[in-house]
Amino acid sequence: MAEHVILFTGPMGAGKTTAIESLSEIEVVRTEANNSERHIADKPTTTVALDYGEILIGAEEKVRLYGIPGQKRFDFMWAILKKRAKGMILLVNSDAPDPIEEMLSFIEEFRELYDRGGVVIGVSRADVVAGPTLGDYSDALERTNPDMVIPVFTVDPRNRDQMENVLLALIANIEMRAMFGMMTTEAV
């Protein structure tokens, strides 16, 4: 069976678990535990292992959705996942103390995925706090990789239609990049 692994990364409370629940066709395997870091994200529970959801495409193919825990002390799991992943949806909550810094630290952590063009940024909780503009995020990304245009969207992870759009934009970008990525760097 053909499988495509998509990672959901980002800081605590960005909406990774929520996003997977919006997209998955199966009951999401959640691993929530009581949140001992209420000062970082004020919510009762936090993911401690991996969230898991699926979208089946026909009988022979599926998209596997994995959500990592946002808490930094679980980062030993990231190494295995980034090797297997086709792409990553990096969610950043607009109401984090420094969302752009958060985004850049995850970009650095998942640099290999980023360098092959497999990343889309979703800015969540923009309805809670306006936060930096999308232009601010794009400017920061441009400094880390001037040749690449990473899609940055506002998104409400509770909204399935928006999450489907983010996922499809990620896949479209990965496929087009595979087709053109080499060419544009050579042509300059």
Partner: protein, 218 residues
């Protein structure tokens, strides 16, 4: 600054400026394009039949209109357009935050020029995105999304863009017009990076995008 409020009543003004006769959103798009290039702040008011006036405050990249963009009136009859010089210190044209101007520029760009090139675009150029529009906030088709994925990764002309994605050339042009109005395109007149070939039925089948899109009923 001593610039007077300027009342432009539909078409004659643009004719005298040497532009082809335009109607509706094409005229509006040209006005917006011009104002966006001014060095002094100017507010715009558009009068549209059967709708309340559409107000644009460029200083705040915002607009105010009682008609929701979800029911954007493609064939609306524009009856007048006012430019109103303002200053950085002057109060906003309407109560902020208003709505994000990008949403209006997107609709306006897609629905003007009748699928022909926007008048400010010289022929024989190739385009690339400098950043993606905020797609979760704009009505868009899957084909437009795919075209943007092309534009995010390489320079292409309008006809190459159409060929690569199987889109009508006029639809590709409408997208280019909109992205250009939103000022998120860069242009080059250089030769193409490589020969553009239309995807075959086989490569389309191989595309996960195509299969997932179908699966999600889009």
């Amino acid at each position: 600054m001593a610039v007077e409020v300027n009342q432009v009543a539909g078409e004659p003004a643009s004719v005298s400026m040497g532009f082809p006769v335009t109607v509706g959103w094409t005229h509006a798009a040209m006005a917006v394009y011009s104002v966006l290039r001014l060095n002094t702040p100017v507010n715009l008011k558009m009068h549209i039949e059967m709708h309340s006036p559409l107000l644009i405050d460029f200083r705040h990249h915002a607009f105010s209109w009682s008609t929701p963009l979800e029911i954007f009136p493609v064939d609306a009859v524009h009856t007048g357009l006012e430019t109103e010089p303002t200053s950085d210190a002057a109060p906003p044209l309407f109560e902020l935050p208003g709505q994000d101007l990008d949403g209006l520029l997107w609709e306006m760009g897609i629905n003007s020029f009748g699928g022909a090139p926007a008048y400010w675009l010289p022929p024989d150029e190739r385009y690339r995105l400098t950043r993606w529009p905020n797609l979760t906030q704009h009505r868009h088709t899957m084909q437009q999304m795919q075209m943007m994925a092309v534009l995010g990764n390489t320079f292409v002309s309008t006809s190459e863009l159409a060929k690569l994605t199987g889109a009508d050339e006029s639809d590709a042009q409408r997208l280019i017009n909109a992205l250009s109005l939103m000022r998120i395109l860069t242009r080059t007149s250089a030769a193409p990076a490589a020969v553009v070939v239309a995807p075959t039925a086989a490569t389309k089948r191989q595309s996960l995008f195509g299969r997932l899109r179908k699966r999600l009923g889009r």
